[in-house]
Assembly symmetry: D3
Homo-oligomer: 208 residues x 6
């Protein structure tokens, strides 16, 4: 007697293959300006929507005493097309995330542990920075230079959320000194002393 | 000798009033489909970008033993126009966030403490649910029914991130039973028994 | 003498292959967050832009006495990338489209025949419903629960328009009771009685 | 005993004033590129979402024997920000909607009554036209020249749907001949004979 | 000693293949509503971002004494997904770009040399036109009919910028008279005299 | 006899006040994330769409021997909501536009005069730079560090186009050294020597 209701629903064209509630990225295919092609829905499982790497502290045994663990579309293809992503930030004592930008996303940082001095600089050249404690959140608008410094006596941990599955990351020092951009061009476009440029190129592996 | 460089920069039209890197919402003015009008940049301070309420546990002394603390544009106007927001979820033992949707945003949940059974249901009627442990993240695509249940023996806490400063929230039970939608219409459109509808209207304060 | 004007136009690079006025979806290729890859313009004909299935009444010989005939991108690939779609709704006497949402689109319904009681519920839990007569149109904003009931003495027919070629459809009852979502989870997340859940799972073919 | 659940829900910040599921336009305030400012939710009723003017035939007692009745945001402010709109098209015998474009929206036409010859022309200068019967739908991609002609022996009626609440309308003849654009400029930019231009300026009320 | 900083950076997942700062279009693959699939970043060179054809005057030895040289995505795939494009306009003495629209983009024209009479017509049928001198810029909003005429005594040159990598171009005369759209339909939908239509079909190579 | 056609057109609701083909910004009112409120169409004239300041060379008598003259929405409100803008770049001999980003837009530069060495650096830390000659165009994708240097023996001039009416501009040196960001924080987040930071703060007027 109740079969007819099943019948009408099964007539509806809302099969797995026709509905795009989500689009788990197939990273093996070329992406496009909207992201990656979708994995076939029939092959999608709950594991495409769950990611565990942010539960583990990053390795901060390095000069900046910091680690960023991303859950962007490249690591977590379930985010493809959904307009957001996450990352984990670990800062050892004296750790710092150097001045950087995300060309494609705004960011909100949530302090899980410790104390972080964070800030950004606007196009109008205004500086906005503050000491953040556990539980504080702070906004870093899209494309603006910003930084985070462990300003406490223990480790600091944060979760950062982005308004894109692919926010990008440009660390200014790395961009200026960590590649083959000729020293002459760096000097001309930054007004830094040549000795300073060469010193940092040495540290960051740059050539030219 | 160095004054000329200052001169040229000061000639550039990038004053506070002309550049819109961000648009801190002025909630006193009417919003529109893009959000709220911007607070004047000269009145914006770092405090417009920092919010502390997510550091405090919500009160879970209620029937569902759960609390959601939002940092949406209405609470945190610095998010206006930036395409993302956050919230904190506290689940006491046996706590549950009932079946609900966010009409305007996809969501990613990060488990801070405890164990959470979370899931969503697709348009194609497939069910995706899993036990999440501390450090796991899970995606809930835009507009789909989803839920979170404390499946552990202690409290559970999560930070949730949304792809909109104004994700909306529609708790199915509250929408069906917590207002003046006539019982007759609820019965006709849900196939629930009338007694069931009246019982839940009683619990949730609905009339009609 | 007039040939030169032809010459200059033919020099312009606006060949079929270079201009994307439209992008008829090639459903055989994987879609992506923006939709399907485009059929080659040289193979596109007027028939890619014309669709006739909405002229035929759907079969309402079922329990809900209702039928929805979609012209979404999966049925009508000419809509790919154009930001809208249509569907036809047939309601026999006592027919009902149960409580549902479209996760990806707002909707406007136009009553072609008969009388329809239609409504939606907002995030703020306000109820908006009304009797609609032939020629009336009604808006259902994106992602919100809504329903349509034949409230007249004859058949009712409507054309519905969506703000996406792929609006999605989540019928609440089907999502809750028509799949393998465990009864225990349904009970916990809806506060419905277990007997009620099992009864509707029986009707709608659900298991677990 | 059940009061606590009410309590927690009422603590949620999802009041009418804070949630933007919809944004009924307040046409008395200035619009911006996203649409009109929102009417206060507390003043919104179901009547903001229902519109009846499309149920009445337009007056086709005119030279083109056609009438368009719009339900755009200017007539139906509930559509503000929702990404779609509708209109009704009435064509008497021999009626025609002259060649025109919608600068801001794609269109889908549904034939309610009669027979319509409709078509559009692409950027690549390909022509797509067809006889449409009752129940047929046809797509007209954004910004392209298109037309509809009553090609049957009785009246024809159609409902047209747009991918914007404000699709715009530019009737080519009206743009070329119905205003003060100097005849000399029309001749130079259309290659039409001056006599032809002056004749149509006479018909359409143009000057210059 | 400085190696650790390199180490942490190299651990970051920001390899060429994972970051989408840009998406140089691979025109050999099918496009989609968002544009073309991306060329693999490892194969991208600076030459994908540099284009020289706009430095050369177009050939204006034709009836309209005008030439448009585009740098759209089809000619310059580096623009794929970036939301803008350019073109060069050469107008010999008495040259004219006939009445046309760009269905997919707004335009800003910058006069490099000479004097240009340019204008557009709004949906509200208002005419906006002006004599432009070297250095002037003028806006033509999306989808509206517009034209440019050399109104000086020497050649005129302009650079035009569009808000899309694929703005499209529909020259009204070419659309009406340069294809197989039947004369009868042109007459019915434009109110032009049949002789006028046939004359221009002859000039522009139209048939039917 | 022809009056009826006028009648039907005048019945159409496409008055100035109802159609939004464009939205000339009213800079006196507060903006929001979509831009500025629209000037009333009845007050809009062709002069709102024409701007002449780019025809005049900027003053390059300064240390960087460069000047940027913008036509962004703040200078040219007709661009409001249209998704593009322009600027003029003048570079005297040895002139340089220092390393900078536009947080909100991609850029295409067209060389009008002279020779320019221009480049950008990707998130993947790849460097793309090239000598550009008159007539060359080059792309700078959104949010990435880039620069332009006069690499010829005479002046260089360029027109730059942006994919936003409000692209923003963050000159790295000015952001790091031209405000009150404490020297200690600059040192920590850039790894520059303190002496270098203080020297450039002196040049650029920074304090702290």
């Amino acid at each position: 007697m109740f079969l007819p209701i099943l019948f009408i629903f099964s007539l509806l064209p809302f099969s797995h293959s026709a509905v795009q509630d989500f689009c788990v990225g197939d990273l093996a295919l070329p992406d496009n300006p909207a992201g990656y092609p979708c994995k076939k829905p029939a092959k999608v499982t709950v594991n495409d929507f769950v990611f565990s790497a942010l539960g583990v502290a990053g390795n901060t045994s390095n000069l900046i005493k910091a680690a960023v663990t991303p859950a962007f579309v490249a690591q977590f293809p379930g985010l493809n097309g959904l307009g957001l992503s996450l990352a984990r930030l670990d800062l050892a004592v004296d750790g710092v995330v150097p001045m950087h930008t995300h060309p494609g996303a705004s960011e909100v940082l949530f302090v899980l542990e410790g104390t972080i001095c964070a800030g950004f600089i606007s196009s109008a050249n205004a500086v906005y920075f503050k000491q953040l404690s556990k539980g504080d959140i702070m906004i870093f608008p899209q494309g603006l230079l910003h930084f985070q410094i462990n300003s406490g006596k223990g480790v600091a941990i944060a979760i950062v959320s982005f308004s894109s599955p692919n926010p990008g990351l440009q660390i200014t020092d790395f961009a200026l000194f960590g590649n083959n951009l000729p020293t002459e061009l760096v000097v001309k476009t930054t007004f830094l002393d040549e000795a300073q440029v060469k010193k940092l190129k040495g540290v960051l592996g740059g050539t030219g």
